[in-house]
């Protein structure tokens, strides 16, 4: 498994956990009748902040762990991890982004539909964030599939 694949796998696991946390909190708020703007704004902030922090820390940790594994496997004290993106990595990243945008576009459309059912903007934006996370997850899955299957 290359560095890029490991990075995507870490991102996939992280965003799945973030989506799980987000949906759990939304369901909890709905059941407790606390689905109000202040608590929902707090949740949005936490979710977006977590997404950014986890992406940065995930990349750094993947790099450190890959270097340690490479050092153990090769016995080299100064191991080189192939962390640069070549044309194949860039192409796979572009295709994954395309899939993620497609999912997010459908999600945006579905979120807008909540207005048809007289739902407040709070519901629309909560759905929008959920679809943003789902789009990231689907994008990561498609990237991993492209690495495995080829194209």
């Amino acid at each position: 498994m290359s560095f890029q694949q490991k990075n995507i796998a870490v991102s996939l696991a992280s965003f799945t956990l973030i989506l799980g946390f987000f949906l759990f909190r939304v369901v909890q708020m709905t059941l407790n009748d606390s689905f109000i703007s202040t608590s929902v704004f707090w949740l949005w902030g936490i979710t977006i902040g977590l997404g950014i922090v986890v992406t940065i820390i995930g990349t750094i940790l993947t790099h450190i762990v890959s270097t340690i594994i490479e050092a153990i496997q090769t016995g080299n004290k100064d191991p080189k991890v192939e962390d640069f993106e070549d044309e194949r990595d860039q192409l796979i990243d572009l295709k994954g982004t395309k899939v993620a945008y497609l999912v997010f576009s459908i999600g945006t459309f579905l979120s807008m539909l909540t207005f048809v059912f007289d739902q407040p903007p709070l519901v629309m934006f909560t759905l929008l964030i959920s679809f943003g996370l789902v789009a990231q997850i689907v994008g990561d899955i498609s990237r991993l599939v492209l690495y495995r299957r080829g194209f």
């Binding site: 192939e82 044309e87 194949r88």
Partner: protein, 75 residues
């Protein structure tokens, strides 16, 4: 697994060139070893520029490294 219709003889040419490793070839053409593996297994068709760089490393014309298998309809 999807196989591309562009076939190559990279593996054979590597062995003919003093058993060059995938890592050595990857470093010479500026890609990762994973990309060389994907090309050898016909899971990735390289860009024209990369194809020329690979041919240059082996010192042979492009058509000796890569060949194209047309559809039955276009034959």
């Amino acid at each position: 697994m999807s196989k591309s219709r562009i076939n190559n003889k990279i593996r054979k040419l590597r062995f003919d060139k003093d058993e060059m490793t995938q890592q050595q070839l990857a470093e010479q053409v500026g890609v990762t070893r994973q990309t060389i593996i994907a090309m050898e297994q016909s899971r990735y068709s390289p860009s024209l520029e990369l194809a020329f760089r690979i041919a240059l490393v082996f010192g042979v014309p492009l058509e000796q490294v890569f060949s194209y298998e047309p559809d039955d309809e276009s034959k």
